[in-house]
Symmetry: C2
Subunit: 328 residues, 2 copies
Amino acid sequence: MDEFDFIRDKLAPLAGPEGLKLKDDTAIFSPAQGYDLVLTKDAMVEGVHFPYGEYGGNVAEKLLRVNLSDLAAKGATPLGYLLSLAIPKPVTQAHLNGFTVGLRDVQDAYNFGLWGGDTVSTSGPFVVSATFIGQVPKGQMVKRSGAEIGDDIWVTGTIGDAYLGLQNVLGRTLEPQPTSDQIWHWEEAYLRPEPRLLLRKLFRQFATAALDVSDGLLADAEHLALASDVGLDIELDRVPFSNATQAWLFAQDNRQTAYESLLSGGDDYEVIFTANSKHTQEIKSTAEGLGVSISKVGKVTKPAESIKVVDESGEIIVFEKKGYKHSI
Amino acid sequence: MDEFDFIRDKLAPLAGPEGLKLKDDTAIFSPAQGYDLVLTKDAMVEGVHFPYGEYGGNVAEKLLRVNLSDLAAKGATPLGYLLSLAIPKPVTQAHLNGFTVGLRDVQDAYNFGLWGGDTVSTSGPFVVSATFIGQVPKGQMVKRSGAEIGDDIWVTGTIGDAYLGLQNVLGRTLEPQPTSDQIWHWEEAYLRPEPRLLLRKLFRQFATAALDVSDGLLADAEHLALASDVGLDIELDRVPFSNATQAWLFAQDNRQTAYESLLSGGDDYEVIFTANSKHTQEIKSTAEGLGVSISKVGKVTKPAESIKVVDESGEIIVFEKKGYKHSI
């Protein structure tokens, strides 16, 4: 099979009208009046973002979900995406079928189309990237900057499940031996993170700053602090963990190391955001109405560009590792 | 250096206002009324699109230029781009400096900004991709489809120089031994193709269909024929060659093979377009006024989805290879 067969047979059926059936080099899009466009681009590499030898639907799902998570945190609605694939020899027809099924599933779940892209061959690892186009009502995009002193810090969902999921996917031993329920829960969190698109209107209405947790809760909190030129005080006992993760955490001898892994592991794709505390009730009831759990984890404070984690007794806990960085 | 240092020190200075100083995960763009957006995404892989071990400004220039060429052929004006880089270990600081100088040079030449993207590490070859956003007055994007029977076929610039440039870059022997002028001319064509943005208004006004020649003149002519559901008759002696290339061509014993290499070699990034013959004089004088050479190479004919190359005596010449395809 060559690139043209693949595009015609597998990708063209996924195209939105903007994609011109993928018969052109470009997509065409007529923006609606009264909206800003929000654009984001994420790349994933075999052996870095997903395990070696993984080429199918899981990779496709994750690629789209992590990009959607960026849009969700900005309060945006996804419209479409451009996809580029650098495909190595070991990728088979079956993998590509699986990959396109993964794309289809996520497109159907969140209602957007494929607009274009590029398919090339490579001698190296599988590299995939997607550029997403979303829209927000004019002037309403939520930025990383904008957090104000005194704001509450909120986190959606639970933190650390994806870190434990990754350990399983990589075949690393977890102690104590996890139950099958725990494994299922963690792997789902790692493989199929839920982009918090349901909350996009809530973020637009109430968030002074937001971003999604991809590198690690502490690292991404620091990104928000840096962009907003504020400090963040996070209360460790308010950080939301799932039952599966809490059970694992409380069985660890070295609790500090365990916390560090969960708070810096990344891949959570939950949203950390700040909001004025006068909106607490509305935020809580809106999220509850949409069936999304949400937790207040701390306060925005004065000392610029720093984050501080405190335990129940108010003591500061120092973590050495805050998140993942690509070394280049 | 980690990804964040690189983004802050090297990429952020290239950001347009839409890029929010690259401090956010996303770009924000307020579309102007009365315009459609044109989006395109091209990826390039070390060892496939550029030689192994090449990581500097040449790669950056080419990546941007090939994407700009797509926009030019659609009649669009570039606004900005998102960049993703999967960077392997052998890439040094000096390479990355060169890479960002290359980006800067092309941005300055064609006036657009960096809006965002993603920088990750890889064990494999260097993989770069860019997603460009351009705009055209509403309804005026030039598609691949739209060529009508009886239209003239035009080609900008000259064909085949990049093919010969690639042979040089790859260290392959060319017979007869080329002069240094020839080598310079061919390598420039290969490394720094000129996106035909100067002609974008001409394409919007007169072209019934257009695309840029990336895979090879014959292959891309076939793409146009397929999308427009027409045939294309190309007269071999009208295909434009530079003096450097003509000198090489006429010194070849196997002229047929030489023609095939030039017409299927690709990487030309010239524009092939079709237009009603009543516009011939306006097309010629507009291109001349802009200092861009342009050649009428044939006619759009009835037999759908086929291309035919004829020599001076009207005899059909059959070429086995039409262009490059990534086998996946």
